[in-house]
């Protein structure tokens, strides 16, 4: 340990303000060290490990993920996420019950289809979770405290994006699992259900990656919470309904070949197209259209491009956020 770390007053109490304010009196370490016999029981240094960037990133991820469900926060902030979580799980249980009562061969609603049906609820959840995870640190100017520590801005962004994605993934994957377990309990075909649920889980991941990127970016631009909430709900629901309406018009006006391309216009329809083309899902498009081969490739490319693009925008936002 370097000499400058030796406490000059190894007593518990500091010098009285008068003493402290007279630096002219030649306070030197050697002069004082000999005089004091009481040992420092006040301040203890820290000699333990310093775990660095990746540890900090993981700790931030966990804290933000828990925070997205109100865990580790006030009782009040648990209410909304828990209520929404219950709301998305209950219909899943009901679907299982219906299948049991009607002795159906399969669930009324497919796994991915269920997630798409719940979009308004997911929008509300994201609109609550993203500002909580992202906007607060900007609004209360806490980010400088993170950036004055070993982590880089990219670590912070990675942790926050991962936490929001994981929160949304859990929010959708848990009801999917409820449906799956229920389906097995009422003895629906095991291999059918397992394959469907696995595809459903993949869909949940895709859904979360795209929507978390969009919501995180919006939240990073809107430090004021109210704005962020409204903007996220609008961004996630309005394009979806708009595109669905346009697809409906395309169908009635004998332009049904346009339906597939129109689906690129909103995150929800984009994901719908992908699940019906690649994950054996039932299409939510008018006439239950599925994508052609080339459309499917374009859909996947657009998906990847959107996620990358929103993530890059998010990074850029933090590069600008001054310390």
């Amino acid at each position: 340990m370097s000499p400058d770390r030796t406490p000059e007053h190894p007593t518990t109490t500091g010098p009285a303000p008068g003493q402290a304010t007279a630096p002219a009196h030649g306070r030197t370490a050697t002069a004082e060290r000999g005089q004091d016999v009481i040992h420092n029981i006040g301040y203890r240094g820290y000699e333990g490990p310093r775990l660095g960037r990746s540890y900090a990133r993981r700790a931030l991820f966990t804290q933000s993920l828990r925070g997205s469900y109100g865990l580790g926060r006030s009782a009040k902030s648990k209410v909304l996420p828990m209520l929404l979580f219950a709301t998305i799980c209950v219909p899943a249980a009901i679907l299982v019950a219906v299948a049991a009562l009607t002795k159906a061969k399969e669930l009324q609603v497919g796994y991915a289809e269920y997630v798409l049906l719940m979009q308004p609820l997911l929008g509300i959840y994201l609109a609550a979770a993203a500002p909580q995870a992202i906007s607060m640190d900007l609004r209360f100017k806490t980010t400088p405290l993170y950036f004055s520590r070993p982590m880089e801005r990219s670590d912070y962004v990675a942790a926050k994006y991962a936490a929001l994605s994981a929160a949304l993934f859990l929010f959708t994957a848990v009801p999917v699992l409820i449906m799956y377990v229920g389906a097995l309990l009422v003895k629906l075909d095991f291999s059918d259900q397992t394959k469907g649920a696995a595809q459903g889980i993949v869909f949940c991941a895709l859904f979360a990656l795209l929507h978390a990127a969009i919501a995180a970016w919006i939240a990073a631009l809107t430090p004021r919470r109210g704005f962020g909430v409204a903007a996220i709900i609008v961004a996630i629901t309005v394009p979806y309904f708009l595109v669905t309406a346009l697809q409906g018009i395309a169908l009635t006006s004998d332009n049904s070949s346009a339906i597939g391309w129109l689906g690129l216009g909103s995150p929800g329809t984009l994901l719908d197209g992908i699940q019906s083309r690649f994950l054996d899902g039932r299409s939510g498009f008018p006439d239950a259209q599925t994508l052609t081969g080339s459309q499917g490739a374009v859909y996947l490319a657009v998906f990847v491009a959107l996620v990358a693009c929103f993530y890059a925008l998010l990074l850029r936002r933090y590069r600008k956020a001054g310390l």
């Binding site: 400058d4 900090a56 931030l60 209360f140 310390l323």
Partner: protein, 324 residues
């Protein structure tokens, strides 16, 4: 501890730091400058968060341009602005910040309890910070800068917004950070007066340039100043000039008038001179000499006051020095 070599930072419109060269030793160092002097800009460069336009700096022997992460592991930072989320308690917040500095969870909790106690936060640390007074918030801000036991803390205007009592307590606390905790401190303020009571060494910057860097003892000595205000007479239309000449003959050392000082109405009637020594133990005979000299010249002596040095004097002295 910190070595700054010809460091400049230019923004599109302003030069925040202008070829600043200064070394900072272990202990408590006050960084003084008016608003916009470049204090905060310097701190951000020292943390490796903002690249310098030119020049270089090392902190704890590490280069700010390439080893920012390693520097930030062993340095604490307290920003000048509010930075606390209101719905979290001080304990939860500081624990989280300790983990962000790389401390394992258990250590983070122990260090948080210790550090909050040291900065003087007790039962209230379990309450949400939204309800804290400014003084309590400043203490939490200080605690998060200390919680990982850094070797050096950079405190940006820690007395900002505090009342006189809170200010004294904060200054006492900062003093203890060095004396009791053994952590070196770089603390900024725009008030020289408050830092001279806390610091071992003082660095004054203005417009991004170094004005002075010296030990507080030197500083106090060199800036103990006697201000004498005199009237002009018919015989001596410029009373201050006459007094200055006479004082010099009497073996004293009056300051040259600053060129811009003539612009201030009434300022032309003021003569300042170094009287050496600390306030209080000044040789009384200086006062007599000044009084007698003025009387001999027939000048009216309006007032004579021993000044506590103010930052403004450091600045005028520089402008006087620049012409010389």
């Amino acid at each position: 501890m910190i070595a700054i070599e010809s460091l400049s930072k230019r923004f599109p419109r302003v030069t925040a730091l202008d070829r600043l060269t200064v070394g900072i030793e272990p202990g408590v160092t006050g960084l003084v400058g008016a608003n916009g002097a470049g204090k905060s800009t310097l701190i951000k460069i020292l943390l490796g968060l903002s690249p310098a336009t030119e020049g270089s700096a090392t902190v704890l022997g590490m280069d700010v341009a390439t080893q920012g992460g390693a520097i930030r592991e062993r340095v604490g930072y307290m920003p000048e602005h509010d930075c606390l989320p209101p719905d979290v308690s001080a304990t939860e917040f500081v624990v989280h910040m300790a983990r962000m500095s790389g401390l394992p969870a258990t250590a983070a909790r122990e260090r948080t309890a210790d550090t909050l106690r040291h900065v003087g936060l007790y039962e209230e640390r379990y309450r949400p910070m939204g309800g804290y007074s400014t003084g309590m918030k400043q203490r939490v801000k200080l605690a998060q800068a200390l919680v990982h036991d850094p070797r050096l803390v950079l405190l940006d205007e820690p007395t900002n917004g505090l009342d006189p009592v809170g200010r004294d307590e904060m200054l006492g606390l900062i003093r203890r950070v060095h004396t009791d905790f053994g952590i070196s401190v770089l603390v900024t303020s725009h008030l020289l007066g408050e830092l001279e009571r806390t610091s071992d060494h003082i660095v004054v910057i203005d417009g991004g340039k170094l004005l002075r860097s010296s030990s507080t003892a030197d500083f106090t000595q060199r800036t103990a100043v006697l201000a004498v205000e005199v009237t002009d007479t018919d015989e001596h239309p410029d009373g201050t000039a006459a007094l200055r000449t006479a004082l010099r003959k009497a073996g004293l050392n009056p300051h040259e008038p600053a060129p811009d000082r003539a612009l201030a109405p009434g300022a032309g009637h003021l003569v300042t001179l170094d009287i050496g020594g600390e306030a209080g133990d000044t040789d009384e005979s200086v006062f007599d000499t000044v009084r007698d000299t003025a009387a001999d010249l027939g000048l009216g002596l309006v007032r004579m006051e021993q000044r506590r040095h103010q930052i403004s004097e450091v600045f005028t002295e520089r402008s006087a020095g620049d012409v010389a």
